[in-house]
């Protein structure tokens, strides 16, 4: 498999706090990866550095062999990097359909499709994620799990090569969570995209979803490997349950 994204020695400091302390990892094309770690371990900061919202203090981001460290978010999106937010950020007064269409308009097909095609793509994707019934509803009126599905739909509409999901199943019922995992896998199979998912607590989903797990703690990658192995690792268990490392 070819490498899609490489993060090399990324450091990010906020004042005196070092949120990312030399993070290096890579994602293969078509891979399903989970990044786990307790609250404050730097997962979301890493996401923000990858999609360009934050600039790293050191290190670089390489996407498809190209150094993208200096690119603004909209250019990274055009290259094929899409994300969802931990706290859903739909555009509340626009309809569900419009929300997804905007994803398509400004995603990797940016400039190549018009509003009409974008609305058609939105309809297809809403069908896939099971949100068609709410297409004309204003996004602000959805329930929280529905908003998370909408986030996912919007990111899928961007036709990314790399889909970054931030706690997409947190707070969902096991049934809803399973459905989301199925949708993500289906999308991966259909478009051969890579998926990185940030997960804080829902380990059941990690084993069900990920082919590889990266564990972060205090801004560093401390372990990586297949889910069953990593989750049994005593160091990983100590990170979650407390105690000396």
């Amino acid at each position: 498999m070819a490498e899609l994204l490489r993060v090399e020695g990324v450091v990010k400091r906020f004042g005196g706090i070092t949120a990312l302390d030399g993070v290096s990892l890579s994602i293969e094309q078509g891979e399903l990866m989970a990044i786990i770690g307790p609250n404050g371990s730097g997962k979301t900061t890493l996401f923000n550095v990858i999609n360009g919202v934050l600039k790293p203090d050191a290190g670089k981001i390489v996407f498809e062999g190209r150094d993208i460290t200096g690119l603004p978010p909209y250019k990274r999106v055009a290259l094929g990097i899409a994300r969802t937010f931990q706290i859903p950020k739909p555009w509340p007064n626009l309809t569900v359909r419009e929300n997804v269409a905007i994803g398509a308009l400004f995603g990797s097909m940016q400039g190549r499709i018009g509003a009409r095609e974008a609305l058609e793509i939105a309809d297809e994707i809403l069908e896939i994620v099971g949100l068609s019934g709410k297409a004309e509803v204003e996004a602000g009126k959805l329930t929280v799990p529905e908003k998370k599905v909408l986030e996912l739909a919007r990111a899928i509409a961007m036709r990314p090569k790399l889909l970054m999901l931030d706690e997409v199943v947190a707070g969902m019922s096991p049934k809803d969570a399973d459905r989301i995992v199925d949708v993500v896998k289906k999308i991966r199979d259909e478009y051969n995209i890579s998926v990185v998912s940030l997960v804080e607590h829902v380990m059941r989903v990690v084993t069900k979803f990920a082919e590889r797990v990266v564990v972060m703690h205090q801004g560093r990658v401390i372990r990586e490997g297949p889910p069953e192995e990593v989750l049994r690792d005593p160091l990983v268990q100590r990170v979650y349950l407390g105690g000396a490392l």
């Binding site: 978010p73 990274r76 994300r83 950020k89 905007i102 400004f106 018009g114 509003a115």
Partner: protein, 349 residues
């Protein structure tokens, strides 16, 4: 918006149609009832003001307190064009298209300069920076004694030199008003096209959540500046028609009055931000209430011995407040909520 997709045009026409019908009705009333023509022209001015202002404020949520500077720059540009043409010995109606084009160019230039700087600021900081633009320009013109200084530009004799005495009479009355109707239609269509195309989707995403818009691939600065320039150009042409052509006078104390910006905000909020019908409803309500409070309610209070300048505004303000509390999304927002019939609803754009 180069190479507009036919689907976008159809969609834009569908969205614009109800508002265009309103303007046609206003035009018919204007022609049929000459005694009310200036009252209708006033509604028209405020409707266009709201419509042009709405393209930026209504769609992005950014409040430009210096908006009237675009109207002023357009009025000055039109006057300068008229003066230059008449002094060059040119005659005929050509000064109108030339003047309007120059007004649009000058307003667009001002908008690109202000936009490129101020649109990097968010929310209230943007609003404060833009007040400075308007006031700064006004004091610059007055203080540096440019463009007629604090007296301004009087172009009536230039207009008479260009198209003769009768021509001027026509230009300053019927022709100016008809051109305003044309500008109204153009503004509505431009809004419709924006709303139906990627620009409109980008702007609405920015209004709803700018951080999400940025993270999801929208070049927010580019789209904000584009909308700002379009909105400013239309404002520039409005200022040119209303003050330079129709009035023949451009006085800095008048054309830079922040009052117009505030009225534009009221009209957009009253009618419904980001909608097409909103500014028309907003302008009719605002001017209508202004008239009623001035002509009917204020005299009653005066007969009771309460006398004050601007008394009608004290009556108008609470009425406006009440409407905005009752309909926070404007009149159009309220109609959209109340009307469930999808066929009727599709006309409320």
């Amino acid at each position: 918006m180069p190479g507009v997709d036919p689907w976008v045009l159809r969609e834009a026409l569908r969205r614009s149609a109800p508002t265009l019908v309103f303007y046609l009705v206003l035009l018919a009333l204007y022609l049929a009832m000459p005694q009310y023509s200036q009252f209708i022209a006033m509604i028209l001015f405020y409707a266009i003001l709201g419509q042009a202002f709405n393209i930026f404020m209504g769609m992005t949520g950014y409040v430009d307190f210096g908006y009237v500077a675009f109207l002023a720059s357009g009025a000055y540009a039109f006057s300068l064009a008229a003066i230059a043409l008449s002094e060059a010995g040119v005659t005929g109606w050509i000064f109108i298209p030339v003047g309007l084009a120059f007004a649009a160019i000058v307003a667009a230039t001002l908008a690109s300069i202000v936009g490129a700087i101020a649109l990097r600021l968010r929310g209230a900081y943007f609003a404060i920076a833009t007040i400075g633009v308007n006031e700064g320009l006004r004091y610059f013109v007055e203080g540096a004694n440019l463009l007629g200084g604090s007296i301004g530009l009087y172009i009536v004799k230039n207009l008479k030199a260009l198209v003769g005495k009768e021509g001027y009479q026509l230009a300053a009355t019927l022709l100016a008003d008809l051109l305003m109707f044309l500008l109204a239609a153009v503004t509505v269509l431009v809004t419709g096209i924006i709303l139906s195309s990627r620009l409109g989707y980008a702007l609405q995403a920015i209004r709803e959540d700018e951080d999400a818009a940025r993270a999801l691939g929208i070049n927010v600065t580019k789209y904000k500046v584009t909308a700002f320039i379009i909105s400013g150009m239309l404002g520039g042409m409005l200022g040119a028609l209303n003050w330079a052509l129709k009035g023949g006078v451009v006085e800095p104390a008048h054309v830079f009055m922040i009052h117009y910006t505030v009225e534009a905000i009221v009209i957009v909020m009253l009618g419904g931000a980001g909608t097409l019908l909103g500014p028309v409803f907003g302008a009719m309500t605002y001017i209508g209430l202004n008239y009623v409070s001035n002509v009917y309610i204020a005299p009653i209070l005066e007969s009771m011995g309460i006398k004050a300048t601007g008394l009608h505004l004290i009556i108008l303000a609470p009425i406006l407040l009440a409407i905005i509390i009752a309909a926070p999304n404007g009149i159009v927002g309220l109609l959209k909520e109340r009307i469930k019939n999808p066929r009727i609803r599709s006309f409320i754009t």
